[in-house]
């Protein structure tokens, strides 16, 4: 149980760039690593654990460790998609508790905006054999979830739009956010229908950039001159098409959330701030239900009328503007979810969106494709 074993997030850094035409991917990783270590007050020579998730080139973590000239005795390269950095922080906490490393560095970076990713399908991937010949984009797959949720629970496009509206209210205060204009539900509904029932403004941005987080042991955390953020619960899960029993209105967050809350010994009602992975508005709505912030099917009502807006609603979410408005580096933004939660817990979010006395926060990631197969990772963090 993580709470008893104790690991702390002591450093976090988000790359300010959203467009990096003149930087390499490894350079972005390295700048994020340097930023997070500087934030923690540690040096690269303190790092003895490294975690990354496949967004680096070449021999991946081996190339990155060599590029950064790290001397690590523990590394983890688990790639479960966009939720990987959240899982890595959990795995780092476990490795620290097991004595495998003392200072763990987690990085994520990419430049899909400057260099659009050329997807080369893996002909040995068993499910792609049945899917590649179909006409589909990833947003068509998320749209399947949205349509079924609307059918089963009466969820409306306007309710989904409230998720973008809340993100845009927060993004107006973030000078780095790609989309800083406050939008209304009417703006979302008037944006082009890209994959019915999803509109263009139901989708996240495509950005370059990245981020890094440093996790360490209690005695090191206490020696540093930074507010301490303790990881008290973590869960992960994977959900597929269940051999033909696909569930489009529920996600692996049911599992990752339940494990994380049980470990932390807290309830959704206790959470003061939530970072929720937001590749699309429907991604957020389904995750909120599955994490237990509302009953299954009530997500539309829960997000309506600004309930996710800081200072207005009951559950402030993605106060940096999130993937919907700020950034989604490497097409997988999991690390940015942790970084904004750390800012909130330290009281370092923008004053206009900072949650008062934010002592308990949740960060949640969704990796790959909700609707066909995806991963979830949930972290619960406490300000000590």
């Amino acid at each position: 149980m993580i709470r008893d074993e104790q690991a702390y997030i002591v450093g976090a850094y988000e790359h300010p760039t959203r467009k990096a035409p003149d930087k390499s991917v490894v350079q972005l990783h390295a700048e994020c690593a340097a930023g997070a270590l500087a934030d923690a007050g540690l040096t690269k020579d303190d790092v003895d654990g490294y975690f990354s998730a496949g967004d680096e080139p070449g021999f991946r973590p081996v190339s990155m460790v060599d590029y950064l000239n790290l001397k690590v005795r523990h590394c983890d390269f688990t790639d479960i998609g966009g939720s990987a950095p959240l899982q890595h922080i959990s795995h780092a906490a476990q490795a620290i508790a097991a004595g495998k490393c003392k200072v763990a560095l987690v990085t994520l970076a990419g430049r899909p905006r400057s260099a659009p990713i050329n997807f080369h399908p893996d002909v040995t991937q068993p499910d792609l054999l049945w899917e590649r010949p179909l006409r589909q984009s990833l947003l068509d797959i998320y749209a399947l979830c949205a349509r079924r949720h609307m059918h089963e629970y009466g969820t409306t496009s306007e309710q989904l739009a409230w998720i973008k509206v809340a993100a845009s209210h927060h993004a107006q205060h973030n000078p780095h956010a790609m989309l800083r204009k406050v939008v209304t539900t009417q703006d979302v509904l008037a944006s082009p229908m890209v994959s019915d029932p999803l509109h263009r403004l139901d989708c996240c941005v495509i950005s370059d950039g990245g981020g890094a987080v440093v996790v360490t042991r209690p005695e090191i955390a206490k020696s540093l001159n930074r507010p301490r953020v303790k990881v008290i619960g973590a869960g992960e899960g994977i959900q597929g098409q269940s051999a033909g029993g696909v569930e489009l209105t529920a996600s692996a967050a049911r599992q990752s959330g339940a494990i994380a809350f049980a470990e932390a010994g807290v309830n959704p009602d206790d959470i003061r701030y939530a970072s929720i992975y937001d590749s699309f508005t429907i991604t957020v709505l389904i995750a909120l239900e599955d994490l237990g912030f509302c009953e299954k099917g009530q997500g539309g009502r829960f997000v309506a009328d600004g309930n996710l807006i800081s200072g207005v609603g009951r559950l402030p979410f993605n106060t940096d503007g999130g993937g919907l408005c700020s950034n989604h580096p490497a097409m997988r933004g999991g690390i940015t979810k942790v970084i904004e939660a750390v800012r909130q817990l330290r009281g370092e979010a923008h004053p206009a969106v900072q949650v008062k006395d934010c002592a308990l926060a949740l960060a949640h990631g969704t990796g790959w494709l909700m609707g066909t197969r995806h991963s979830s990772a949930t972290l619960i963090m406490e300000r000590e």
Partner: protein
């Protein structure tokens, strides 16, 4: 991307493609647990038995969910189809006006050969 590259790397599914080439839609059924599955594979994903039969299916079912991509010149429909007493499968609905589709609409399998694509099962309204 060539559909036959995928098929070549998936020898376990050869019976499906052989049947499809003759316009027949077959589903793997497990002799141990008596269940079908989708997508087809060489081992039963319900019980991990290798004792599979390829059973002809009428390929009838209903739309479980669908999306209409409107970004190109022609809209196209991605859908999950729930086969009658069978698995739910990802597919396209073809030869239909997207605006007339609804969840629950009755559909039937059709194979549309194409030089660049494996002849995957698609569905039309019935």
């Amino acid at each position: 991307m060539n559909g036959t590259d995928f098929i070549a790397h998936s020898p376990e599914t050869k019976p499906f493609w052989d049947a499809a080439a003759r316009g027949r839609f077959v589903l793997p059924r497990c002799r141990q647990c008596d269940r079908t599955h989708w997508y087809p594979r060489g081992i039963c994903p319900h019980c991990l038995s290798k004792a599979l039969d390829w059973q002809e299916s009428p390929g009838e079912g209903e739309i479980h969910s669908f999306s209409v991509n409107r970004m190109g010149d022609q809209p196209y429909v991605l859908a999950y189809v729930a086969l009658t007493k069978g698995p739910i499968m990802l597919t396209n609905i073809v030869d239909a006006d997207p605006d007339t589709l609804s969840i629950g609409a009755k559909v039937k399998v059709v194979f549309k050969p194409s030089p660049e694509q494996a002849p995957v099962p698609l569905f039309v309204l019935r």
